[in-house]
Structures are given as structure tokens and as C-alpha cells.
């Protein structure tokens, strides 16, 4: 079973990277840009047929390693 995980910075947390990227795009002439936020993306395949169990596994990976819960939020989606 395959999942995608999207990790983004929490709302009030400073995103220095996003700011620089946004400025650069605007300077490059992309003036319809309203906002851009950057995060991480994971594609995870687990050997598990039960969706509940699989999702639990992925969630555990997120909590234990992939996500810094103090400053980041995450979302899990099943792809296939």
C-alpha cells in the first residue's frame, strides 16, 4: 500500500525559506503570485494489506521521525 505524506510548517512558525522564494519569484516578474509555502513530501510504501494498520504504521513513522511536531503539521493520503 502506498501513501503520500505532506509536511508543512505550522501557521505561526517563521518560514524564512518560503519568504525568500516568494520574493525571488516576484522579482522574476511573477506578480500574480499571492503566496507560496514550502514543505516536505514523502512517498511511502508499506507491506501491509489492511488499510487501517498501514495508515497506523505511516502515522507512527511521521510522529517518530519524519515530522517535527513542535513546528510542523502533516497530512497522510492513500495513493494506491
Amino acid at each position: 500500500m502506498k501513501f503520500s505524506v505532506t509536511v508543512t510548517l505550522k501557521k505561526d512558525v517563521l518560514d524564512p525559506q518560503g519568504k525568500v522564494v516568494e520574493n525571488t519569484l516576484v522579482n522574476m516578474g511573477m506578480n500574480n503570485l499571492k503566496s507560496i509555502r514550502q514543505g516536505k513530501h514523502f512517498e511511502i510504501e508499506v507491506d501491509e494489506n489492511d488499510q487501517k494498520n498501514a495508515e497506523k504504521k505511516v502515522d507512527e513513522m511521521c510522529k517518530k521521525l519524519l515530522v517535527n511536531l513542535i513546528i510542523e503539521d502533516y497530512k497522510i493520503n492513500k495513493i494506491s
Partner: protein, 726 residues
């Protein structure tokens, strides 16, 4: 909003403190004002528990240009050069979020230094972790080290020295202390004292966000089960913006536009504005609508208490705004006049054309509470350890145990993650007793080192306090620098605990005695209390950061053997003091007894005369003897050079274990050319210095006469294994 008991408690204020606030204001504060009081009156900003003790420290000397009380201390290193330096803790944030906590710690201390007009030239750090076996230790170590590197490397200031230690006392409360050292011109130092009426108060740097609100009061509270919930107070550092801010400030400082300047550290806009006003005996009026904000709808409360990083407050001379703004525009930074100085002696906050808060400056500064907390004296421990009662151990095994232990393992795993070379003035990188940084474009240099000895301080704080100052002084001497002054970071437990307060008082007494005797004044520092969880306090861990001067830089000196067949001398007397030694701790898990005694007279005499020998070019390499004793120090000299040594049996003290592993103080090992022996020994004798000829250097083998013989390559492996397999 009505101020309830619960709100007061949430702000970390005691009921009686709230009563004083009402008295000072002659009315009830509103929530914004209460927040400001809580930020200014907490331990971190007000030093309410430590102030009466700190006052005793010697802070003056011919070399001192500015002692404690400013953003950083300033010392004179001759010509028109000054060195600006300070150390600061970032313990609590680093435990919650090690990468960002450590990174913002570095960012904060750098601002303290460049605010004063100095270009930072070196970073140091002292980091303490729990037991390596503790489940959190590994990720904390990884996070902290990459955070320190992440910030320093990016901004481009070399991280050149530090210490990395492990002890279970830090399991739930690690220590992350960062020190920054900068260089300035003596007549171009900038201070935070406001001057003049109606002057523009300018906000520069990053925008204000909702991050770190109440960080300062967090640093003044113990952790408990709920500390997880306090997480949003973590700040994210942006070393890129700090680099721009640093360059912009240094550019603006080239002329006379600035009256006063202050970074926004703990308690952000609040403490920076109060500090400027209080030092200048003036008032300050701020228009909060003008504060550059990152988020929509931020309240005055949030703006005043935010601890967003990379921001500064500047008071400008009349008519300089345009020119100054141009500089900040060039560096793509915000530059906004947000207020002015007034003669009201009040902090006046306006929002939407209304006064939303008004507090007399003195209520926040000089009238903040000061406590003379109760403390108890530590009783000396009478127990001594009898070797004959312990299981026998082979010298070789004991040495291997020490060299392969986390605390004594080679630290290159850590230091290779720091850029030590950027700026191209690092003469001696990490790995020796002290780092050496050349003053740019000159042939003089400074030496820097940070040191602590929590075990010694725990067992007998008075001696421990003296010992760290002396060890730090020795580390500068061994690289040929004249020690000039120190900064200190005092990491302690809960000051409301009388034993902890006793540890604090006595450590400080020890620091004071040593500093006074050695003419080694304290020019800056930081206190971090409430290190511990649920009544379990950390070992008292004062950290000393020292700066010394090398007047004429020729060949840098370090602790690596230089050639074979040179003579090895041990300066200072060996008694074989094993209590509190690394030998007992690593091999027997014994940590009872008193630390080794400090004889300040010997310290001074031995150190000063070693410096003379170094100045006369008689020394090939030198190293102080500290944790692990003589044999450990000798091994380190071998390992770092690849040369071996043969150590002869001592003539006097016959118990070899005591001789080799004892941690008696005021001792150095020096390597000298054989044909200089007479000259060196004469100088030592003439100055009443006790010394012994202990052996000579040789190829390949580290050897103790008829006891052990190990290939230096193997020693190297033993010493380098731990981090790489952890």
C-alpha cells in the same frame, strides 16, 4: 479583561509580586501591562535571585573597557583593538526543539556582540547532555550540534572551540551555552544607553511574529509533565537574515548616526525598549501600529512579548533616518521609526491612537524585585577512597576505559560539523586546549576556551568554582596567551531550593576568589536557573569562557608532540588526588569525596612562568593536566600528533595509579628540546616551581616504563571510536 489569580499565576508572577506591581502603578495593571511586568520581572531578565551574589564578582581591571551590564563585555587588547564577548544559555528551548533551540541560541549571542559595534570573529559552545543510554540523548546531541553548526556556518563565523559532556544529571534538562567573540575598534563601541529627547526609535530586522511569546518566562520555570504544551514558544532562527542584519548594522555603525542600539533578545521589544530607557533615565513612546508584523491582527500584547529573532532597536541622531534607511533597504530589511524618546520616564504604548499601556520605567527595571534567598553551606565530605578496598585494575585497562568514554572521546564528530576556517583567521582550530584567532590584518591573536566541571562543583561548590576559573586560565596559558578576562554562564537548578542556592552562592564565591587572585575579571555573563524537572535539579554547572592575548603571533603553540626524543617535564606537584576523578567514575562508578584542592598561589606562579618559557621560545608543545590525570593528558598529546612517549617510573610517589590518574591541579606537561633542559630547569628552579622530568617522546609507542606499551595508532582508534559507533 479582569486580572484573576489564575492569570497572574500563568504569567509566572507570585501573589506578593502582583501586590508590588499594583503599588508601583498605584492601580491594577491591564493584561498588556501585566505581560510586560511578567517579562521584565522573571528570573531570566531581572536576575532577582542572583543579583546580590553577582555583585561580588570582580569586574574591573586595566584591561576592562566595559564590564557586566551591557550587551557584552569589552576588553582592551592593545593598539586600537578591543574584544567584545559574552556567553549565554539556551537550555530550555534546546531541550524542546534541539535544532532551533541551539540555532537561535547562537543567533542571540551573536546579536549581543555585533550590537556593540564588533564584528564577530569566533563562536564557542558548551553543551551538556544526559546519559548516552538515555533514549533522548542521541537525538538531542544530533539536533543541538547541527543547530549550532547550521547557524554559525550559514552566517559565516567560525565555531572554533567548546566542550561536549555527558552526565545523567542532564537527562531531562540539557545545557546549551553559546559564546560569541567579536573585534571592534576601541573608540567605536556602541552602547544601549538612550540619550536626548524626541529622538527616533527605529525598529530594524525581521518582522514580528507570534513565535516565542513568553520564552523568557519559560526559561524561568521548571519543566513539568505539561511542558509539552508550552511548545509553541519555540522560535525558528533565520541565519540568513541575521547575516544581513549584521552587515547592515556594521555598515550603519561606520559613521555617527547611532545614539544607542540594543538587540531584541529575551522579552523582545519589551526588554530592549525598557533597557534603553532605563539606562538613559528617559521615557519611551512606541506606536505599536507601526511595528512590522508577520501575521495579521497581532495584538499589542503579542507584539510586546514576541521573541521573534533577528530584530534590533536603534535610537538615531536627528536627521539620520534617510541615510540609515538606505542601508537597510540595500540589505532588504525592515526599517521603521516606531517611536521616540520622551522625558516622562515611562514606557508609553499607543495602539490605534489610544494609550494602551503606560508603566514607569523604574518599576520595570530598578524597582524589580530582588531576593536574598536562603541558602545552606555545603558540608565538606570526609570520606576518602582507599584503593586497596577496590577491585584491582590494570593501568592499561583503566586508560582505555577513559579514552574510549563518551566524555573523553575525540570530538571531531562534533567539530567537523562546524566551519572552523571561514574568515581565514583561525590559527588553532578545535582539538587543542584553546583555539587561537588572529586579529585580521595584524600579527597578534586571541586565544579562547570554555570550561566547566560539574562534578567538582557538585561535590564542593567553593572549590569547584575556583577550579573552573583556573582550568580555563590554564587552557589559555598552554597556547601561549596571557589570560585577560572571562564571561560566565551559570547553569543551576531551582533557586527556591536552599541547597541549590547554596551551590550558587559558593560557586560564585569560588569564582570570585580565583578571578581576584589571578586578575582575571568577569566582564559579562548570564544566569540560567530552574534547570531540572520535578524537584530534581541538575548538578551546578557554571561555565567559564576565557579570552587571552597573544601579543606577537609566531608559530602557534598547541598540545601535539612535535618531534621524537624531546624531554617531557611535568610542572606542578602531584599528590595523587583520586576523589572525584574520572578514573573512579569511569572504572568504578564512584563519585564520592572532595574535588582536588586549589592552591591559587601555585596556579599563578606556574602559569605565569610557563608563559615566560613560551615567550622565550623554549616550549615545543604544552598541555594542562585535567580530567583523567597525567596519563590521559599524555595520551592526548600522543594521539593528536602521532608521536609516542616513554614515561619513566616516578621517583617519589610510588602508587602508580594515584600518580597517573590523580587530578591534582595547577599542573602542565611541557615538551622541550633536550638541549634546552638546563635553561628551562634553571628558570623553573629560580621561580620556586616544582617540576619533574617524566620521560621523553619517541616514535610510534606510548609507553609507561614496565607497565604498558601501546601503539599510538591503536590509542587513536580507541579514542575515536565512540562517536562513530554511537
Amino acid at each position: 479583561m479582569k486580572i484573576t489569580e489564575q492569570i497572574i499565576d500563568k504569567h509566572g508572577l507570585k501573589p506578593e509580586e502582583y501586590q508590588s506591581i499594583k503599588k508601583l502603578l498605584k492601580r491594577e495593571p491591564n493584561l498588556l501591562e501585566l505581560g510586560i511586568f511578567s517579562a521584565m520581572w522573571n528570573e531570566h531578565c531581572s536576575y532577582k535571585s542572583s543579583r546580590i551574589h553577582l555583585k561580588k564578582l570582580p569586574t574591573k581591571g586595566k584591561q576592562v573597557i566595559q564590564g557586566p551590564g551591557e550587551n557584552a563585555g569589552v576588553i582592551d587588547i592593545g593598539d586600537d583593538d578591543a574584544i567584545v564577548f559574552k556567553i549565554e544559555s539556551h537550555n530550555h528551548p534546546s531541550y524542546i526543539e534541539p535544532y532551533q533551540g541551539a540555532a537561535t541560541g547562537v543567533g542571540g549571542i551573536l546579536r549581543d556582540v555585533f550590537t556593540m559595534g564588533a564584528r564577530p570573529i569566533a563562536l564557542l559552545n558548551s553543551i551538556h547532555f544526559g546519559d548516552p543510554k538515555h533514549p533522548k540523548t542521541k537525538s538531542l546531541l544530533n539536533g543541538v550540534v547541527s543547530g549550532i553548526g547550521g547557524y554559525g556556518n550559514c552566517i559565516g563565523i567560525p565555531t572554533v572551540a567548546g566542550e561536549t559532556k555527558f552526565n545523567e544529571t542532564y537527562n531531562e534538562n540539557i545545557l546549551v551555552n553559546a559564546m560569541a567573540v567579536g573585534h571592534a575598534k576601541k573608540n567605536k563601541i556602541f552602547y544601549s544607553k538612550a540619550k536626548g529627547l524626541n529622538k527616533s526609535v527605529v525598529y530594524v530586522g525581521s518582522k514580528t511574529g507570534r513565535d516565542g511569546i513568553h520564552g523568557a518566562s519559560m526559561a524561568s520555570a521548571e519543566f513539568d509533565e505539561n511542558s509539552e504544551e508550552k511548545k509553541p514558544t519555540v522560535q525558528v532562527g533565520d541565519p540568513f537574515t541575521e547575516k544581513l542584519l549584521m552587515e547592515a548594522c556594521l555598515e550603519l555603525m561606520k559613521d555617527n548616526s547611532i545614539i544607542s542600539i540594543q538587540d531584541m533578545g529575551a522579552a523582545g521589544l519589551t526588554s530592549s525598549s525598557v533597557e534603553m530607557a532605563s539606562k538613559g533615565s528617559l521615557g519611551l513612546e512606541l506606536e505599536l501600529n507601526k511595528v512590522p508584523c508577520r501575521e495579521d491582527n497581532m495584538t499589542p500584547y503579542e507584539m510586546m512579548l514576541s521573541e521573534s529573532q533577528e530584530r534590533m532597536l536603534i535610537i538615531l541622531e536627528d536627521g539620520k533616518e534617510k541615510k540609515a534607511k538606505k542601508i537597510f533597504d540595500k540589505w532588504d530589511l525592515d526599517f521603521v521609526v516606531i517611536g521616540k524618546t520622551t522625558n516622562t520616564n515611562k514606557l508609553t504604548l499607543k495602539f490605534n491612537n489610544k494609550v494602551v499601556g503606560e508603566i514607569p520605567i523604574e518599576a520595570l527595571a530598578s524597582k524589580a524585585p530582588i531576593y536574598s534567598r536562603k541558602w545552606i553551606k555545603k558540608k565538606p565530605c570526609k570520606n576518602t577512597i582507599e584503593l586497596k578496598n577496590l577491585k584491582k585494575i590494570k593501568i592499561e585497562d583503566a586508560l582505555i576505559k577513559i579514552l574510549s568514554s563518551p566524555n573523553h572521546s575525540n570530538k571531531t564528530w562534533v567539530t567537523n560539523q562546524y566551519d572552523q576556517m571561514v574568515m581565514c583567521d583561525t590559527v588553532q582550530r578545535s582539538g587543542s586546549d584553546a583555539a587561537i584567532i588572529r586579529i585580521h590584518n595584524k600579527d597578534k591573536a586571541i586565544a579562547v576556551s570554555v570550561d566547566s566541571s560539574a562534578n567538582y562543583c557538585k561535590s564542593y561548590p567553593l572549590t569547584g568554582g575556583k577550579q573552573i576559573v583556573c582550568e580555563n586560565w590554564r587552557n589559555l596559558i598552554t597556547v601561549g596567551a596571557k589570560p585577560l578576562a572571562i564571561t560566565n554562564c551559570l547553569n543551576f537548578g531551582n533557586p527556591e531550593n536552599q541547597e541549590v542556592m547554596g551551590e550558587f552562592a559558593e560557586c560564585l564565591e569560588g569564582i570570585k576568589e580565583a578571578c581576584e587572585f589571578l586578575n582575571y575579571p568577569v566582564v559579562s555573563g548570564n544566569v540560567s536557573f530552574y534547570n531540572g524537572t520535578n524537584k530534581k535539579n541538575i548538578f551546578p554547572t557554571p561555565v567559564i569562557g576565557g579570552v587571552g592575548l597573544i601579543k606577537k603571533l609566531s608559530k602557534p603553540l598547541n598540545h601535539s608532540f612535535k618531534e621524537t626524543n624531546s624531554s617531557l617535564l611535568l610542572i606542578g606537584k602531584t599528590f595523587g588526588h583520586l576523589e572525584q576523578s574520572c578514573f573512579l567514575k569511569e572504572n568504578y562508578s564512584i563519585d564520592e569525596g572532595m574535588p582536588p584542592e586549589i592552591n591559587l598561589l601555585n596556579e599563578k606562579n606556574n602559569g605565569e612562568n610557563l608563559l615566560k618559557l613560551i615567550d622565550k621560545n623554549l616550549i615545543l608543545s604544552s598541555h594542562d593536566v585535567s580530567s583523567g590525570g597525567l596519563i590521559t593528558a599524555l595520551s592526548e598529546m600522543s594521539i593528536s600528533s602521532g608521536y609516542g612517549a616513554k614515561i619513566l617510573k616516578p621517583k617519589k610517589l610510588t602508587n602508580l595509579i594515584k600518580y597517573l590518574f590523580g587530578e591534582d591541579q595547577a599542573r602542565y606537561i611541557i615538551e622541550i628540546k633536550k638541549n634546552n633542559s638546563t635553561k628551562v630547569e634553571k628558570i623553573l628552579k629560580d621561580n620556586d616551581i616544582y617540576y619533574e622530568n617524566i620521560g621523553y617522546t619517541q616514535r610510534d609507542f606510548f609507553e609507561i616504563e614496565s607497565e604498558l606499551k601501546i601503539n599510538v595508532k591503536d590509542l587513536f582508534k580507541i579514542n575515536n571510536e565512540w562517536y562513530n559507533t554511537y
